[in-house]
Amino acid sequence: MSAVATPILLWRTLGRYWARTLLYIALITISAVWLLPLISVVFTSLKPEGEIYATTAWTLPRMPTLANFLEAWQTVSGNFINTVLITVPSSLLSVAIGSLGAYAIARLRLPASQLLYFLIVASITIPFASVIPSLVRLLDSIGLLNTIPGIVLVHTAHGQVIVIFLLARFFATIHEDILDAARVDGCSTLGIYWRIVLPLSGAALAATFILQFTWIWNDYFKALVIVPQKANAPITVGMTLLAGQYAGKWHIRSAAAIIATLPTVAIFLGFQRFFIRGVTVGAVKG
């Protein structure tokens, strides 16, 4: 743990006291800058129309009101529900299907499994934009363009890449002795997946699910291509459709933006460790 790296370098030059003070000043400044855009939008969402241009973006609302949220909700609630209808099945399905594939790759010693693993993981380099012309035609030909099942299918399919990458990696770390013991006790291959591997992988499954959920909830591009019409669009697309109708009404649109992002921000605040601690997968060892 190289906690000393930075201190040694800084302490030497500046002395412990000044180094620490300087660090705090720098970190507090950068954090403040990072929070300003959010503060500006939260304040705007609480201001009545008359205050938006009359006050600066960083002044507290004089007469805070939740009326903006009410109006925003009435306009975007349908799209919010679409987002839920898209995100919940997509993230559940992609983790469920992907965990089976990951188990096969990581534990069943299939011929060519490493090649398949590489081909699946390497698909992450394909830009979504690159496949649009063909994907639209494909979905259209099976009657799923402009439908929620259509986008659920695409999210589930595209989700395989990351679910398999993360879960295969994790399943491979489960100690063989445990699986051997189960095998000796007569547990079948599927029984081992269900009774041993899944229960041992609770944290990894939860993390993968949370990441899929956030990723799909926040998607804009795929939805714009596959379900662009207001009736089926998720809230990310629905929000942008407000721009014309509510041109200049930044207080209402701010409220809609907060409604759109509240669930993922809440998940982030609740599970920060899940999000942050392990970005290291693959990033640390050479």
């Binding site: 790296a5 500006s40 697309v237």
Partner: protein
């Protein structure tokens, strides 16, 4: 965009002696492929097949709706490369975008990681604040920054005026010069957190003893940076730069929402141009050729990332 951020520890993979079970048993292998089949079919149907079809369609004059009939060979590529100034404009804008994206958030993230590595109080709070934008949809990020850059009511111009720098106030998103940097600031606001957490994890993986020993042996601080920190941070750099390059080729959401490629074509990147060609100009054959160019650019950065990420095998 942060699904790779997961909280399980990096445990090295246990290799185990081959016992009788592990020698190929037909039923196990058949079952294994059956379990893997749904995933492979889904990826093949919605990633590989469309990519190949796009490659095929890029040799056709095609409107995106009718069957592929008018084979034109390399004409689409020829038109793009030699006759279409808008294509080169989009390439240029994508390059500018990539150049900004692999520097600004990466440098800020690295500096913040070096600062947080000192194990000060409130580390998680600072980390959380810088990483928080990653949980927000780019559709919302674009809205937030559209409001920040609003010529009259927006934070940026109001702050400039409050600081008596009103002459610097701009209609940021309507300016040919400032539009790309301005949107890039919004994206960097999101992406810095990613660079920060990866670099911090990389720094934390460097053993203290290494640095202490070098210091005792008389290494100066630049020697420590040059010969210990930078080489050992290499995997972190590969992941951050590979991933960032790949993302930068993909950029679409923020630009489409804020400017749709405007003013004029000042912020039109490849993905926007492809979208316009497909849905507004109905030149899907041409769009397919752009898609192949994008894939090649993205794969260049992406393969660095993938190689690093799968450098550990996943077979038990």
């Amino acid at each position: 965009m942060d699904w790779y951020a997961v909280s399980f520890p990096l445990v090295h993979i246990v290799r185990y002696n081959v016992n009788t079970w592990q020698r190929a048993r037909p039923t196990r292998i058949v079952l294994g492929y059956l379990l893997l089949l749904p995933s492979v079919v889904l990826v093949a149907l919605f990633w590989w097949y469309p990519l190949f079809e796009v490659l095929y369609a890029s040799f056709f004059d095609w409107d995106g709706l009718s069957p592929l009939e008018h084979f034109v060979g390399l004409a689409n590529y020829r038109a793009l490369l030699f006759e279409d100034p808008y294509f080169w404009n989009a390439v240029k804008n994508t390059m500018i975008w990539s150049a900004m994206y692999v520097t600004v958030p990466v440098i800020i993230g690295l500096i913040a990681a070096l600062m947080l590595n000192a194990r000060i109080k409130g580390e998680n709070l600072f980390k959380g604040i810088l990483y928080l934008p990653s949980a927000i949809s780019f559709a919302v990020v674009a809205f937030i920054w559209g409001w920040m850059y609003h010529p009259a009511g927006g934070f940026v111009n109001q702050m400039l005026r409050a600081l008596n720098l009103g002459m610097l106030a701009q209609p940021w998103l309507a300016s040919n010069v400032f539009v790309l940097p301005a949107i890039n600031v919004a994206s960097s606001w999101v992406h810095t957190g990613f660079a920060l957490v990866v670099f911090l994890a990389g720094l934390r993986s460097i053993p203290d003893e290494l640095i202490e020993a070098a210091t005792i042996d008389g290494a100066g601080q630049w020697q420590v940076i040059r010969h210990i920190l930078i080489p050992l941070l290499r995997p972190a750099f590969t992941v951050v730069l590979g991933w960032t390059l790949m993302l930068s080729v993909n950029v679409f959401d923020q630009i489409n929402i804020l400017t749709k490629g405007g003013p004029g074509r000042a912020s039109e990147v490849l993905s926007i141009y492809l979208y316009v060609k497909t849905f507004l100009e109905h030149q899907a054959g041409m769009a397919s050729a752009i898609g192949i160019v994008m894939f090649l650019l993205a794969a260049a950065g992406g393969i660095l990332y993938v190689r690093q990420m799968i450098s550990q095998e996943v077979t038990a």
